[in-house]
């Protein structure tokens, strides 16, 4: 077992444990905090798997912007009222059954695959290589994604604003 392997298993344990804790917390703020840990772990995993730029973006966008946005909304709405039951019976039983079945299916599929047992070679895609590749081969997709983000921005703005103005126009 190499050092890289030890790091991988540590990171995997960090991701799984923090995610597992996150989805069982009742307090939404705690959930978000644990998820930030999970995303940090993911970012480091990306670094390990040779994608430093992605690791950076994961931290900045996911763990930074998105999670802060969640926190912001949670605090704005002040959803302090605890759920009546965190896992309603009619929901968690089918979900658990589905997950168990998927695990069994996945294991059955993975066990006979022998070629996947070969350890991965280390390699790195430097940010400049990645950037060149991205803008040479996928410039159109980049533009489309930027339009998608713009649309999402306008949509979110519209959703938030129209309700406010409708409320302010409401005489009562």
């Amino acid at each position: 077992m190499t050092l890289y392997a030890i790091i991988f298993y540590l990171l995997a344990a960090l991701i799984i444990i923090s995610t597992g804790i996150a989805i069982t917390r009742r307090n939404m703020v705690h959930v978000v905090i644990y998820l930030v840990f999970s995303f940090f772990g993911t970012a480091m995993l990306f670094y390990l798997l040779g994608a430093p730029l992605l690791a950076l973006l994961q931290i900045i966008i996911y763990a930074g912007a998105v999670m802060v946005l969640f926190l912001f909304i949670i605090m704005m709405l002040r959803v302090e009222a605890p759920e009546i039951s965190m896992f309603p019976f009619s929901q968690w039983v089918p979900a658990a059954a589905l997950c168990a079945a998927s695990v069994v299916l996945g294991l059955l599929l993975l066990i006979p695959e022998s070629q996947l047992g070969k350890p991965l070679e280390t390699a790195i895609a430097t940010p400049s290589d990645f950037g060149f590749y991205l803008f040479k081969r996928h410039w159109l997709t980049i533009e489309l994604v930027s339009i998608l983000l713009l649309v999402a921005l306008v949509g979110a703005f519209h959703l938030g604003k129209s309700k406010l103005s409708a409320k302010s126009e409401d005489p009562s």
């Binding site: 989805i23 909304i73 896992f87 996947l116 996928h138 649309v151």
Partner: protein, 97 residues
């Protein structure tokens, strides 16, 4: 020498199933959205792992786009939740029942 590719896939699968469980079992709209985030995260782990396994940059490119799409989805989704909360005063997905 890191680890076999199958271990990366197992990790990704476990995280994905946690996301499914979170999205399905928690009775809260924000938790559903967080479950979706976890699932997307698992998918990007699988893509980056595959990128290393097959020595193709495409996997990393895809992971980047996943991050972008997740950001867009979260912004619209949260705006919608705000609307829902203003209208119904709660974030219970079963409010209509």
């Amino acid at each position: 020498m890191i680890v076999p590719f199958s271990h990366v896939m197992i990790l990704s699968g476990i995280v994905f199933l946690m996301g499914v469980f979170c999205a399905v079992a928690r009775r809260n709209l924000i938790m559903i959205l967080l479950g979706l985030e976890i699932m997307l995260n698992a998918a990007s782990i699988a893509f980056v792992g595959g990128s290393l396994h097959f020595h193709l940059m495409e996997g990393q490119v895809f992971a980047l786009f996943i991050i972008a799409a997740a950001a867009a989805e979260v912004s619209v989704g949260l705006a919608l939740f705000v609307c829902v909360y203003r209208r119904t005063g709660s974030l219970d997905p079963g409010i209509g029942e």
